[in-house]
């Protein structure tokens, strides 16, 4: 009996019921938008509504708060809610262009100190925070980035853990850049350089992905004559990074070959193009090995 009592006391001492909370007492936040207005943090929170019909695309309500710092702003949110703020299912962090490199540390610290959030949510930069949050569903942005990453390698899926890692390793952080004018669109990447933004065009993101061994698949075309093109589908790609060299192995498939190029010529064309673009972003020696399948002239 003594042992039993000791076990019970021990159990209660090493844990507790403090994590107990019923589902209906939660205010589930799925998106946080951050911008700076007049040197104050202006935060938009997307809350999932109480009564929803479609659990795959639930309706949301936007709450706006302001604070001198992020913690204070988020804490002040509880003044507007009768439920417990629940960040575990945060899916998206949208940062406005007004956030500078110096503010990034504040944001990173907030999420590092918050043990409730996961580290796999997407982080994007936008030109119009209010529109992006109010007029789009959080799944839309996620799918936009995910599809473009998988289908044409024209973006990078940046999670908060990537941001934290690159920030503390003092490496460039690349954020997908989404714009909302009349509709949502993806417009390359944004990276901070000396507390200001540098924009990378979508087409150039492919070469950045080569550097990071992050190519899923993409299609590329080369004009060889008037109205004649050769279309290639890059099925797989593997980049091995050595100290002074990049070794890239591609598996290519020729989709159309109006130019009737030979396999050797296709190889040269593709390699020259890739090498010249990679040279713009790396000083390393570049070695490319290709396997080419499909229609070509022997």
């Amino acid at each position: 009996m003594k042992k039993f009592l000791l076990i019970i006391i021990f159990l209660f001492l090493i844990t507790g019921c403090d994590s107990y909370i019923e589902l209906n007492d939660l205010a589930i936040i799925n998106t946080i938008g951050i911008e700076k207005v007049n040197d104050k943090y202006h935060i938009l929170i997307s809350l999932i509504d109480e009564e929803i019909e479609n659990t795959m695309e639930p309706s949301t309500t936007i709450k706006e708060i302001e604070g001198d710092n992020l913690n204070q702003a988020i804490n002040d949110l509880s003044l507007k809610l009768s439920k417990k703020i629940y960040l575990s299912h945060l899916d998206l962090l949208v940062i406005n262009e007004t956030i500078k490199n110096n503010d990034l540390e504040t944001i990173i610290n907030f999420f590092l100190n918050n043990n409730e959030t996961r580290e796999d949510f997407l982080v994007v930069i936008t030109d119009n925070l209010k529109n992006t949050l109010e007029k789009t569903k959080f799944k839309e942005i996620n799918n936009l980035i995910e599809n473009n990453k998988q289908e044409n390698s024209k973006t990078i899926y940046t999670t908060i853990s990537d941001v934290i890692k690159n920030f503390y390793q003092k490496e460039n952080i690349y954020f997908p850049y989404v714009t909302y004018q009349e509709s949502l669109s993806l417009d390359g990447l944004i990276t901070y350089i000396n507390n200001s933004y540098k924009k990378i065009k979508s087409d150039d993101v492919i070469y950045l992905n080569y550097l990071f061994d992050n190519i899923d698949t993409y299609k590329i075309s080369y004009k060889c004559d008037d109205n004649k093109y050769i279309y290639l589908n890059i099925l797989t790609s593997k980049t091995t990074t050595l100290e002074k060299e990049l070794i890239i192995t591609n598996e290519l498939k020729v989709i159309t070959n109006d130019c009737k190029l030979k396999k050797k010529d296709i190889n040269t064309l593709f390699n020259d193009n890739l090498t010249s673009n990679l040279k713009k972003i790396t000083n390393k020696k570049i070695t490319i090995k290709n396997t080419i399948r499909g229609t070509y002239e022997n």
Binding site: L11, S19, Y20, E22, I28
Partner: protein, 487 residues
Amino acid sequence: MYEKLNKEDTITNGDKMTYIERLKNDSNNDDDYIYKTIKLGKNTIDIVNIETITSSSDINNFILKRISFLDNLKVNDLIDYLYNYLPTTSINKIKDYEALKDKLLNGYTILIINQNNILAVETRRDLTRGVSTSDYEKTILGPKDAFIEHYNTNLGLIRRRIKDVNLHIKTFNLGRYTKTKTSILYINGICKKELVDRISNDLEKIDIDGIIDSNYLKKYLNTSKSLFPTIKQTERPDLASEALLEGKILILVDNSPEVIILPTFFIDFFHTSDDYYQKSLNTTFIRLIRLIAFLIAIFLPAIYVSLTTHNKDSMPISLLLSFKTQRLSVPFPAFMEAILMIIAFEILRETDIRIPSSMGSAVSILGGLVLGDAAVNAGIVSPIMIIVVAISAISGLLMPSIEAVNSVRWYRFLLIILASIFGYYGIFLGIILILTNLTSTKSEDKDYLYPFAPINIKEQLDGFIKLPSKNKKQRNPILSDNKVREK
């Protein structure tokens, strides 16, 4: 010529009262005690039987008709004649009043010749039903016969399957009033002797007024504190015979249609008799289904409670929102909701068992469908909770033993309570508690979790998986020293 009785076979009634007077006195002159006195020349035969447990046609045909012309015999010749020529194989010479009572109460007719020579002739009335199919151990393949309440019939069903003189029986009469015939059955040469001695000792120690059914013996044979049963009962003679061939022991109890199998391992509750009548691949599949169902039955409500109260972050947002939407109008916390639903299910199940079958469908429809639907519409319980409890309850019923089904219920409650307090952490604590309990449990001094703990790789071939018998030709080494089962 007939056998002469020895002088010492006759007894004298030293008491002042005659046997008949004593019987009348002891039985309070009950109505169903029939006394008849016949004068045959100089001899007097008092005939006593209990009408309710004896066959009057047997008494008329095999006793009364045979003695009516014996009026010229001397007393010893009369006794010898009766003993040798009454057309019955079961006739006993009685030497004292206690034996007389015992035989009388067991359906014998007592013949008292001249007040001091007693013979007991078996004229037992058949009060049992015929051999029928099993009620709760149904199978599709294999034999359909099941044990009944008659000891000899049950023994016969086993002897019909195991035709060997090494099938030994050790009989006890248990219960001060009931004197219930109880036997240990084992195959000499397969079963370990120490197991027989151990169980014999346990049975000999029993001192109780009555043993009404084999279930009465459980508390004497089961010393384990585990919630899970360490004794298996079966009403299938094929399963009982299979157990004997494995080196286990059977306990047959008169008036009980269930035979006890000892020792019993945890894995036995995942095996059924028709596992051995079909392809091993199918058997493996269905055993794995039973294992999955067992895990669902124990863990599903606890996992649900844990997910909705502590570990919401471990489910995808769409599932979380689905749960949240369904629980919007429910006034109870998830833990209370789960407990209420499980209790409601247990009430329905118990009602279904107790009420006549003609009313069963009405209760099922009213209890299961109408009330369930009304409860959801009224916002008392959420649809998801009904699904969780129903799946868990149905899965729990898949265990082939009712004792195992009942034990699952306690593990389910334990885990729900732990999950509601500690979440997943509590469930893992529960798993540790259950495993600790099971690993320290023994059935007749054999490790309950064998062949998993301690592990025996060969025995895994007939554990949760089953390979064709060519891969497993030996008996379980902890049950038998006679290892070769198939050559």
